[in-house]
């Protein structure tokens, strides 16, 4: 009797652990979690940007989704961490039935992880070509 009761509680404990494990895992499997930190939204390529440590920096840059070009980080940033593993996030033009080839925007998200100053180097290019179509350099201060 005692043995089966223990087994029962062991089973309940296992289920609880598995449910907790699933909840933790779902955060890593593509479900976007709302960042607790504030987000500094930057529209276009600015000369300089100040971001508070722990905050999110959102860059919105001009891009044509149907052209094959995308904004890529040239050098790895030390003070900022690129948040999206897949950084190719375009917004659709704000019109009904936009014409194919119409320019839109690409969004990049960074988290400020260390205080200091650095230059964020971004290149607008195709990954399969050497040529660079456009560049964006932003002096970032994390305070």
């Amino acid at each position: 009797m005692m043995k089966s009761k223990s087994l029962k509680w062991f089973g309940v404990f296992c289920i609880y652990c598995l449910i907790m494990a699933c909840n933790v895992n779902s955060g890593k499997s593509g479900v976007q979690q709302t960042p607790a930190a504030d987000t500094a939204k930057i529209d276009g390529c600015k000369d300089a940007v100040r971001v508070k440590l722990g905050d999110i920096l959102e860059l919105k840059l001009n891009a044509i989704p149907g052209s094959g070009y995308q904004w890529l980080l040239k050098d790895s940033a030390k003070l900022l961490q690129l948040l999206d593993a897949d950084s190719l996030k375009f917004s659709r033009p704000d019109v009904e039935n936009p014409a194919p080839g119409r320019p839109g925007f690409q969004f990049l998200h960074f988290k400020a992880i260390k205080k200091g100053n650095e230059v964020l180097n971004l290149e607008y290019k195709r990954t399969w070509e050497k040529d660079i179509e456009d560049q964006c350099r932003i002096n970032v201060e994390v305070y």
């Binding site: 296992c14 149907g66 070009y69 995308q70 009904e96 194919p100 070509e129």
Partner: protein, 369 residues
């Protein structure tokens, strides 16, 4: 007690099943499901000597891709790629019921086009007036698959010998798709390779002989470009080089003109893709709008792209390309992109039938010789 214990353990097993931990979301941004190693091994076992050779080439190409977001697996269709003509795909005519739903404009033109086709060239198994004689039967797609056949030089030399173009950083895909359809159809019908001026279309193109701007580097419409080619014609690339700019428009001599153009029947349903195949059989190429702003599509370098199932239909498009063939075994369209020859395989790609919103807007063009 025991039944409760069993239920508890069953629930526990259910929770640790792989579905509970699935990664990626096909509705999101193009994550593609992967075959298991066992499935891949089974596919590879089906290959004969020629198939293994083709697959080895495809694998070699695949290894050149940095951090691929997709996978490739063996396809036994590559065991026999001798019948090159079938690689393009030949389709039967769609049935009566659907023929009635065609665009009125197309219908008006059909008889004229048919007569012209007959007079100029008899295209195997496909005359427009054959449409509607299916007696209500479902159209049959007797296409042979292609697999990794793009590595076969003679296929490209015979059917696809129209160089891949590059639109650069200008949003002129719509003009490239229109010129691409014209060039491929011309090659398919008359055997000659043309190089039309996309710049002429981008800078000067107007629909309906001058009422509406066809587009610019800020986007545009392939149908309007085809309308312009029919009304006014288009200059040669030699006369009007591509500069990836919206203008200005310079008046250059007309090099080629279209006899007519039209829209492939576009309603949703079982026969939509059959109509596209039917028009491909006749014209060799059609333009299509699609959704391409996807990281997985950007990084495509071979195999069949199945990374973005159709969603949002009509409005969810950002790009224009040319469809130049299809494969039943791959369940995919062969598209020609305008991102240069180093994207995809020689600038082309296989895209699954129900992917990227391809096929909602397709246009054909019939060039004058």
């Amino acid at each position: 007690m025991k039944p409760k214990l069993i239920i508890a353990w069953l629930v526990a097993l259910l929770l640790i099943s792989p579905a509970g931990f699935s990664q990626g979301n096909p509705q999101n941004d193009g994550q593609k499901g992967k075959k298991s190693q066992q499935d891949k091994d089974n596919d590879a076992k089906k290959l004969n000597g020629q198939g293994q050779q083709e697959f080895a080439k495809a694998n070699a190409d695949f290894k050149k891709v940095n951090n691929p977001s997709f996978d490739i697996s063996a396809n036994n269709e590559v065991n026999n790629v001798a019948d090159k003509k079938n690689l393009h795909g030949i389709s039967g005519a769609p049935n009566d019921a659907d023929a009635d739903k065609q665009d009125n404009e197309n219908k008006k033109n059909e008889k004229q086009i048919s007569d012209k086709l007959k007079a100029e060239k008899n295209i195997a198994g496909a005359s427009l007036d054959a449409g509607g004689k299916g007696g209500g039967k479902q159209p049959s797609a007797s296409t042979t698959g292609v697999g990794a056949a793009w590595t076969d030089g003679s296929f490209w030399a015979t059917y696809m010998a129209v160089p891949t173009r590059n639109q650069g950083g200008c949003g002129s895909c719509w003009a490239f798709a229109a010129c691409g359809a014209f060039e491929h159809t011309y090659k398919y019908m008359f055997g000659a390779t043309l190089d039309l001026s996309e710049q002429d279309v981008v800078a000067c193109g107007m629909s309906s002989c001058g009422t509406t701007d066809a587009g610019s580097c800020g986007g545009g419409w392939s149908d309007r470009a085809l309308s312009w080619m029919t009304c006014r014609g288009v200059a040669s690339e030699a006369a009007y080089n591509y500069t990836a700019t919206s203008g200005p428009c310079y008046s250059k001599p007309v090099y080629k003109k279209a006899y007519t153009w039209g829209r492939v029947p576009y309603y949703d349903g079982t026969y939509r893709k059959e109509w596209i195949k039917y028009y491909l059989t006749i014209y060799g190429a059609v333009t299509t709008y699609m959704r391409a702003g996807l990281s997985t599509f950007y990084s495509y370098a071979g195999g069949v792209y199945n990374g973005y199932p159709n969603q949002g239909g009509w409005g969810n498009i950002d790009h224009a390309v040319t469809i130049v063939g299809w494969s039943e075994s791959l369940q995919a369209w062969l598209i020609k992109n305008s991102w240069g020859p180093t994207w995809g395989f020689n600038g082309y790609a296989w895209v699954g039938y129900n992917q990227c919103n391809i096929g909602y807007y397709c246009y054909f063009v019939y060039p004058n010789q």
